[in-house]
């Protein structure tokens, strides 16, 4: 295969017939051809990024100012931040920071600017290219500033700029090459993170966006949510504790941030619909056991006898590795060879919530084991036990116990939605998907997981989620 073989570009643009793949794979044993493929791939990447007006190929969260302290102050810091209604502080949002870095790198780049190829017309040389200053000010009220300077009408604004106003005023911006118009009102703070992304910390933003492709949507990121649009008119209002969106035309995908700042699955809003980041929809469990309350749920050997079959709430797919619940990293094994089979083994990803209702039916029991996080690296294993003492509750009273593990390894235990304790798991996988790491969330029951004939407990409504539920969401699991 030659280095300019058209099959290389066909492969890189997703147009190669499957039958041609083996020949390409075989040819790649040649280092020179591998270089040619990487060069061609680099061209494709550069072309796609330039067409999108992207400097940064990924969206990255900026550091949280309280992150260092959070490790030592634990959950108290988090809770204090939430009470102020500001949520996790995303001071310089995702792509804004990324673009600033990109511009810094750009400034360091030596050499003259390349000229276009022969036969291609050159656009106006009198203004800086739109790739560097993609926004034009249509109208600017008093008090609107960028980098400390007043912003006047007709000014060009660079990607990565932060525009703010501390007094009630208005600003209208238009993109120079894309059909996007923005109107800001009230005291506001806006970061032009890129041609297709803006980050708004406060104020009201009205946007009119022309048709866009799914590969390059327009996004508005706020401290509480993200709106992604393909062409529509909508308004976003950012208050201290919530972001509200109303859609006038078209469709907006509205994704709330959870307590850890991660975006949840988006909710689709169409014309006439509104959404508020503070009113999260009910979470959907990855799996749930049918509600069952009755004696015999736990038999004399410490095994759940009626917990099967599973009721799966997402379309599952069996693979060699277990039960695949989605395309990312969540799966559930059918059995776990290293534990008794009825200790229904649940293999989870880096963020998980396990919730179950428990009622004591016998004498007080010690250390009913609700969950075990079992982390194994190569041949060395480590267990984290989540034990729930059943001797402090009224017999026959149903209590909901929940355990959450955040992607950063913070594990919290809740009783009826109230935080009981929190700790950190230092061995949390350093690289998700690392094949040397096995991470399992198990549900052994009984005294330290061993059969306990004195144990008489009922279980109900076992649910597993692939994210960290907030205390409010945990409370809402019980209508």
């Amino acid at each position: 295969m030659r280095r300019d073989d058209p099959r290389i570009e066909a492969w890189l643009t997703g147009r190669l017939p499957p039958g041609e793949l083996p020949a390409l794979q075989q040819a790649l044993a040649d280092p020179a051809l591998a270089e040619a493929v990487i060069r061609a791939a680099g061209e494709q990447i550069a072309l796609r990024a330039a067409l999108r007006g992207q400097d940064c190929l990924a969206e990255l969260p900026s550091p949280r100012p309280d992150e260092t302290g959070r490790r030592t102050r634990g959950t108290r810091t988090r809770r204090r931040v939430r009470r102020t209604g500001r949520g996790p502080v995303w001071a310089a949002l995702a792509a804004a920071a990324c673009l600033l870095a990109a511009l810094a790198v750009w400034q360091l780049r030596p050499g003259p600017t390349p000229s276009p190829g022969a036969g291609e017309e050159v656009r106006s040389q009198h203004e800086p290219p739109a790739s560097r200053q993609p926004w034009r000010v249509l109208a600017s009220g008093s008090g609107v500033r960028v980098g400390g300077d007043a912003l006047a009408a007709d000014a060009l604004v660079s990607a990565g700029s932060r525009i703010s106003a501390d007094v009630p005023t208005q600003l209208r911006l238009a993109h120079r090459t894309e059909p996007i118009e923005l109107e800001l009102s009230g005291p506001f703070e806006l970061a032009l993170a890129g041609p297709a992304t803006v980050a708004c910390q406060r104020g009201t933003l009205r946007a009119k966006v022309g048709p866009r492709t799914r590969a390059a949507p327009f996004s508005v990121i706020t401290p509480h949510a993200r709106c992604t649009v393909l062409g529509t008119r909508f308004a976003v209002t950012i208050a201290a504790d919530a972001t509200r969106v109303s859609v006038s035309e078209g469709t907006v995908a509205f994704a709330r941030r959870d307590g850890d700042g991660e975006f949840a699955a988006p909710q689709e809003l169409t014309a006439g619909m509104r959404a508020d980041s503070a009113e999260a929809p009910s979470p959907v469990a990855l799996l749930a056991y049918p509600l069952h309350r009755g004696p015999g749920s736990l038999d004399g050997t410490g095994r759940l006898s009626r917990i099967l079959p599973l009721t799966l709430r997402r379309q599952p797919e069996w693979t060699d590795a277990g039960l695949l619940l989605d395309g990312r990293n969540h799966c559930v094994t059918r059995t776990n060879a290293s534990w008794p089979e009825l200790r229904a083994a649940l293999v989870a990803s880096r963020a998980v919530t396990l919730s179950v209702k428990v009622a004591n039916r016998g004498p007080p029991s010690e250390n009913l084991l609700l969950g075990v996080l079992y982390i194994r690296k190569n041949t060395e294993g480590a267990r984290r036990l989540v034990s729930v003492r059943m001797d402090d509750g009224e017999p026959g009273v149903w209590v909901r116990w929940s355990v959450t593990v955040a992607p950063d390894g913070t594990m919290r235990t809740y009783r009826d939605g109230e935080l009981q304790r929190a700790s950190r798991i230092e061995d949390w996988p350093s690289q998700p998907g690392d094949p040397s790491v096995q991470l399992k969330l198990l549900m052994p029951l009984g005294h330290h997981g061993e059969p306990d004939e004195d144990l008489a407990v009922e279980f109900a409504d076992v649910q597993l989620f692939d994210r960290v539920l907030t205390p409010d969401e945990l409370r809402r699991l019980d209508p």
Binding site: R39, A46, L47, P63, T177, P432
Partner: protein
């Protein structure tokens, strides 16, 4: 990660991201899957940047993360076609690392070359490379003949390649 570490990470990431993307695209042969993998690599690299050993190559470190992310993606997406031969993987990874600087510079140069194209030329490229439209679809949408579309794409590719190559030559990379 404090602001200083974040800045250090971003500086390195901006230099390495194109190499990661090129490696992912060469392995997956699917630009949309590549976007997903690059996003996941960036987030993982940022999260675990404290564990990065500065005495090692950052590009090599993030390519290692990319290797795992691609494996995850392939496991989840089977039976989608992808390059899975160990030898091909090794050659592509090594080439990505060797050409990392050039790949990054190519991306920077391309921004200027694209910005100087007429809007309708950019539209043609956008339809073919971003939207994945076929020549026939572009023909219908832009009211051009099929051969005119093919010729225009060919000339644009050549012009852009020449424009980028000249920029790289000026910087001693080609």
């Amino acid at each position: 990660m404090d602001a200083g570490q974040h800045a250090a990470f971003l500086t390195r990431w901006m230099r390495a991201q194109s190499a990661v993307a090129a490696y992912a695209l060469s392995r997956l042969g699917d630009p949309h899957a590549m976007d997903d993998v690059v996003q996941e690599v960036a987030l993982a690299a940022q999260r675990y940047f404290a564990r990065y050993d500065p005495s090692r190559s950052f590009t090599s470190w993030v390519l290692g993360i990319a290797h795992h992310k691609i494996a995850d993606h392939q496991r989840a997406r089977r039976p989608t076609a992808s390059l899975e031969s160990a030898e091909a993987e090794a050659q592509l990874r090594a080439a990505s690392e060797r050409l990392a600087h050039e790949t990054g510079e190519r991306a920077s140069a391309m921004h200027d070359c694209i910005a100087r194209l007429k809007p309708e030329r950019r539209e043609l490229l956008r339809r073919f490379y971003l939207d994945g439209q076929s020549v026939r679809e572009i023909t219908d949408a832009m009211r051009m003949g099929q051969s005119a579309v093919k010729v225009a794409l060919h000339r644009l590719r050549r012009a852009l390649r020449d424009c980028v190559s000249r920029a790289l030559e000026r910087e001693g990379l080609r």
